[in-house]
Symmetry: D2
Subunit: 424 residues, 4 copies
Amino acid sequence: MINDTIIAQDNDRFHATLKADYDALGEHLDRRGIDIAQIKAKVSNYGVAVPSWGVGTGGTRFARFPGSGEPRDIFDKLDDCGVIQQLTRATPSVSLHIPWDKAPASDLLAKAEEVGLTFDAMNSNTFQDQPDQPHSYKYGSLSHTDAATRQQAVDHNIECIELGGQLGSKALTIWVGDGSNFPGQTNFTRQFERYLDATKQVYNALPDDWTLLTEHKMYEPAFYSTVVQDWGTNLLIAQQTGDRAKCLVDLGHHAPNANVEMIVARLTQFGKLGGFHFNDSKYGDDDLDTGSIDPYRLFLVFNELVEAEVNPDFNPMHMLDQSHNVTDPIESLMVSAMEVQRAYAQALLVDRAALAGFQDDNDPLMATTTLKHGFRTDVEPILAMARCEARGAICPVTAYRASQYRAKVAQKRPAITGAGGGIV
Amino acid sequence: MINDTIIAQDNDRFHATLKADYDALGEHLDRRGIDIAQIKAKVSNYGVAVPSWGVGTGGTRFARFPGSGEPRDIFDKLDDCGVIQQLTRATPSVSLHIPWDKAPASDLLAKAEEVGLTFDAMNSNTFQDQPDQPHSYKYGSLSHTDAATRQQAVDHNIECIELGGQLGSKALTIWVGDGSNFPGQTNFTRQFERYLDATKQVYNALPDDWTLLTEHKMYEPAFYSTVVQDWGTNLLIAQQTGDRAKCLVDLGHHAPNANVEMIVARLTQFGKLGGFHFNDSKYGDDDLDTGSIDPYRLFLVFNELVEAEVNPDFNPMHMLDQSHNVTDPIESLMVSAMEVQRAYAQALLVDRAALAGFQDDNDPLMATTTLKHGFRTDVEPILAMARCEARGAICPVTAYRASQYRAKVAQKRPAITGAGGGIV
Amino acid sequence: MINDTIIAQDNDRFHATLKADYDALGEHLDRRGIDIAQIKAKVSNYGVAVPSWGVGTGGTRFARFPGSGEPRDIFDKLDDCGVIQQLTRATPSVSLHIPWDKAPASDLLAKAEEVGLTFDAMNSNTFQDQPDQPHSYKYGSLSHTDAATRQQAVDHNIECIELGGQLGSKALTIWVGDGSNFPGQTNFTRQFERYLDATKQVYNALPDDWTLLTEHKMYEPAFYSTVVQDWGTNLLIAQQTGDRAKCLVDLGHHAPNANVEMIVARLTQFGKLGGFHFNDSKYGDDDLDTGSIDPYRLFLVFNELVEAEVNPDFNPMHMLDQSHNVTDPIESLMVSAMEVQRAYAQALLVDRAALAGFQDDNDPLMATTTLKHGFRTDVEPILAMARCEARGAICPVTAYRASQYRAKVAQKRPAITGAGGGIV
Amino acid sequence: MINDTIIAQDNDRFHATLKADYDALGEHLDRRGIDIAQIKAKVSNYGVAVPSWGVGTGGTRFARFPGSGEPRDIFDKLDDCGVIQQLTRATPSVSLHIPWDKAPASDLLAKAEEVGLTFDAMNSNTFQDQPDQPHSYKYGSLSHTDAATRQQAVDHNIECIELGGQLGSKALTIWVGDGSNFPGQTNFTRQFERYLDATKQVYNALPDDWTLLTEHKMYEPAFYSTVVQDWGTNLLIAQQTGDRAKCLVDLGHHAPNANVEMIVARLTQFGKLGGFHFNDSKYGDDDLDTGSIDPYRLFLVFNELVEAEVNPDFNPMHMLDQSHNVTDPIESLMVSAMEVQRAYAQALLVDRAALAGFQDDNDPLMATTTLKHGFRTDVEPILAMARCEARGAICPVTAYRASQYRAKVAQKRPAITGAGGGIV
């Protein structure tokens, strides 16, 4: 963890400016009839989970260029996640990936408590082969043609649930790469029947207070067809499987030009929106930093979420899922968590009564202007003040750099060498 | 209609060649264990509906360049459709579009009998305003914010059902342009609730032996969101509405790179595939001639349909839906109907037992080679022989050109002048 | 024109708030080392041309839904454009489209002076047939296989230059729909040779102080190939034609996922960026309001333009080109002009020395944060103050609505009826 | 190498069938005025280079699932490539990748002679870091901000030329992953200036009879911008660098919906088409087997190449570049080489005089039908007879499986274990 003095010193540099900006924004919002304190309170209560795998440097199929001081194991990763939470106060939980993060539950719980974190959704892995694994996932996992391979995948998911149960997690996220690379390689229907059958077995092993999240993705690693290729198939899975089966939306897993915010609305309407993997993308599943490419799209997603908040049962899970290939992962995750908060705060500023009125009156220009009014407001002072009041950093990146955390952990975490193929 | 002598004369030019090609193909297929006569019989029984609007020259928002001898009304259109069927023997029915084709049922039935056609699905139009229409569809139809406008759209659909009932049609196809051009213009959820409510009213007016087909489309005419934007939403409509509500798949209405054959498989698996609008596209809803851009994709769709044929209740409707901007529409529709037949014939040649074996064995190379073996076979002799035996033309285009049909109808159908259609 | 009293009254409602917001922003920017007055001065000097055709309601190939009080001719259009400039002070010029706007030069000049406008680039039209035109553009214009048709297109462009010369215009913009709808329809190479030959003829007729702007577009109205399909072909045209031949970039004319700001940079680097058609798009050439879908992309384009401003010879032309299907076109054009200004102002706020430093140091996180710092600043007070000081409206939309301009012109401009435009 | 007896035995199974099919096709083509022997002769002379890296199993950033008997080094790879050539007689040369394939030239030449192969274009690698490499390519290579890193990349390319010179290669292919993952990370213009400067240095080291091929790619591994992102930038490179600098087109490196055959035509027209990387794709740079997803697109590319063959100086290089993740790479490369030949043979069948006539007459329906007539002809008998006559296999896949080559080499090539990250 970072010494509180360093944070305090860094905050001192920005505090007067922040206060001036915050007060000015408060007056501005007051003129718009908005109480800045209420917005700040909601932002303070908002958190997004960090993926344990996100604190390692990512790569592509062509190469991975390691950074210095990379985490060696889940305990190093939890240290890094703790720093993110310490500085941003926006990431109170971590999402584990099994078997990458497998460790005794007591050790995980102890470390999490030490760094001030809890455990979010568990993630299983049936898209890679592990050493000594009897059956290969080369041709699929939950939907494999071979029953023993499917069973192995089911058993692995149940193992994830069991570990998660000890850690206080309440959800299992399943993403599979099953699909095909050639027309004809698989029979679409029989493959999906097998997938559904196996997924129901996993669902049946779920504790009563858990949610099963299934994740769709258009392509990659399969390049002709993917068994859970879009939200339509994901919806069918949730419908066929059970009430606690819901859909996870990864922002980067859709077809070019898809209207993702509309998919969010549809799944919400039918009670099947289970959660998010936030990131950004320009071309494919680029796993770029959230809000770095199209911040307005992120805002439009949060516009749907704020719209749905009136329903007290609406409570999707929020996670980051990114690949940090050229930045310090801690910095990227901090900035991304703040971008998520920013979109949330901007969406909170939208005058929803006015918006509904313009919609009813078919006044598209004023309706869209109403949205934009929320979006174009610079809410940074709200986010920064919320962090500051929670003993985080006004500017997490400068505080982090001032702390020399990376250089310090690099001393005990050996450098990784070799070209290496990217795994994220 | 075209004089049978002209067809016979044209066929005489090709008959010897056809016989040689057909015999050679028969011998080749025999070596593959396939009885050419059985394939020919299935092709002979196959038909695809022609859209009445397809026989007029289409255009874009920039311009329409009329051809000569364009049909003036539905009766001219039925003449043209009759010629298509006469020459190809592949298009026994016509799909009407109301109000464009509105006429007394008795007149329509008489004309259809005269030209040897029956009536396929009825199509309603709530994406344009008609003269003297009380409520405008500028801001939507079945999902409009205004109840009276929705009712007008519902009533129009019921009117289509009533006319169709007199004509022997058994299905209503609903496609709406409802959506929005700006983020915020509509509330996605409330808009879809209104759509569902109105569509259920239409469904309730459906005779017991009718099917309701709803059609999804990613975009155009709405450019930010469309209320039935993809098969996921279309599936929800069919699920919410009733057993006889099914999804219509227009091949050109999907996101870039979408795997359409997989969507076909999913809808089939869950009993919700209602029918097709065949065409081809490179960029958007280009409405190009079927099979002209990506014939293998068309084959892969038919591969799913042949796969599903083992279920005797599986009987989706097949229609062409194209815009012929630079060709004689009769020629394009004839060639397109034959391309549909070609894909069907090629799919029939696939060795399905071998394919299933390769799929079970995870032998993607041989599985895809098995599909390709069907696709790369030149089945033209089968199609041509089927036409010839049914008194159609061996080469419909040359027979049509020999008949000078277009020049003859141009004498009584006045030329259309003016730029038309242009909007920038 | 709108009565200045109405504008003044509307401004009175907002003036105190604006002053407070402007002062607060000035203080904030001062803390960032930026002089708000300098930014405001640059914004005040910035203008974007309005397209004459933009003040009419647009449509799609399916339908056009007219608004009330639509302009009947170029003189009505200039009235509407005058209102846009009067209220926004951001649109000092109009881009004409011939033959739609054809009229005696003296009349056009008199009207323009009356409404306070000048003339920007001239636009020719060889994508539609006009009554009494000898040769049809159905199969192309500048690249048509027939020499007489090409000559007709060349002559029309020269006619546009001649009229523009009398109007004080300094540029001709050529956009053609030439291409094909079927593989094989055209020979790509011979078609492009014809295009180049004809375009050189037009170029040779250009006055010495004029620029020739050619515009690329991926597709529509041609749906398989387009002769000027992308910036690569557009660059070849500019290279082959002459020094004053440059490329026009319409933001909506690119492939899905294309990095448009990079294309802007490349054309700038090689001296071939001639100008812009601003708009926004989600799917294709949607011609939506500028900045309405992806405001960050617009900002990134302006980031390149501000970067290039250091070169005193860099002076691309800026035009809006949109289709207003569901809004009052005057309102959309006002808001869009302000969005262009907004992106420009945000780009001016970027700390370019810091940015260059982060780029040289390979610090992507801080580089992108530096850009975002400009983007997320709410510059509305700067734009509004600039308008106010130039006797425009603080809030052009409310002032426009208060003026009842549309209702007033509707009294003398007859309503347009009929479905229009519909092609399926 | 495979025992000729095995090939002969396998051929015996198919020979009678092949003869019957070939004779029937010959008669059919004779009726179309085409001499089958001439087509066969052209096919026999046609060859496509195999990439050395293609004989290893590929993977994605998520996983790589090794096959059995994977090549351990370039000598094993050359053995595998020799088998591909032995069975297909369509792949006479191999394209090396340095440093992966680095070895003494004399050893490479000896092995190549042993297996009956020559060396095609050399490929450099500056998208991965090698052990003991002083400067990292994490932030670029030829366009890196640091001069020493650029020099290292230049030197590596020169080293590739030197080795290639000893091997009889006549071309260097440069593909770099340089780009950025964040808006602002790089200055597009300065980055491209650095790229051009470094590439000119490589060009200057080129022997007089060599060609420099540069390869564009839309994205991956860089996910926001790529320095050589499309053919427009690639053309600029070739123009700026020199006469022997030309563009390489990888079929999978374009934007969604791009018309690749048109790009081929443009580069050909301006003398800058240098060569191809053949493969197929559905979503991104999927590196799927050539012709497996859209065989008509491949045909349309070959239609351009056959069109251009009339120019005796037109001689682009043809290479496969694929990633074989789920098949035996030898099988995939054999089938892919045959698909390339198939497209070439089909394109040779097109009646070019008739096509040109239909193009001049603006008869799109007959023009496209003329193309399709070539495409839909099943030319397999021509390809198989050409192979058979050259002592290859009539059916390379069955002969290969009969040979048990893979099982045999697996005995001496140890199994690769571990999950491993995919590098291709």
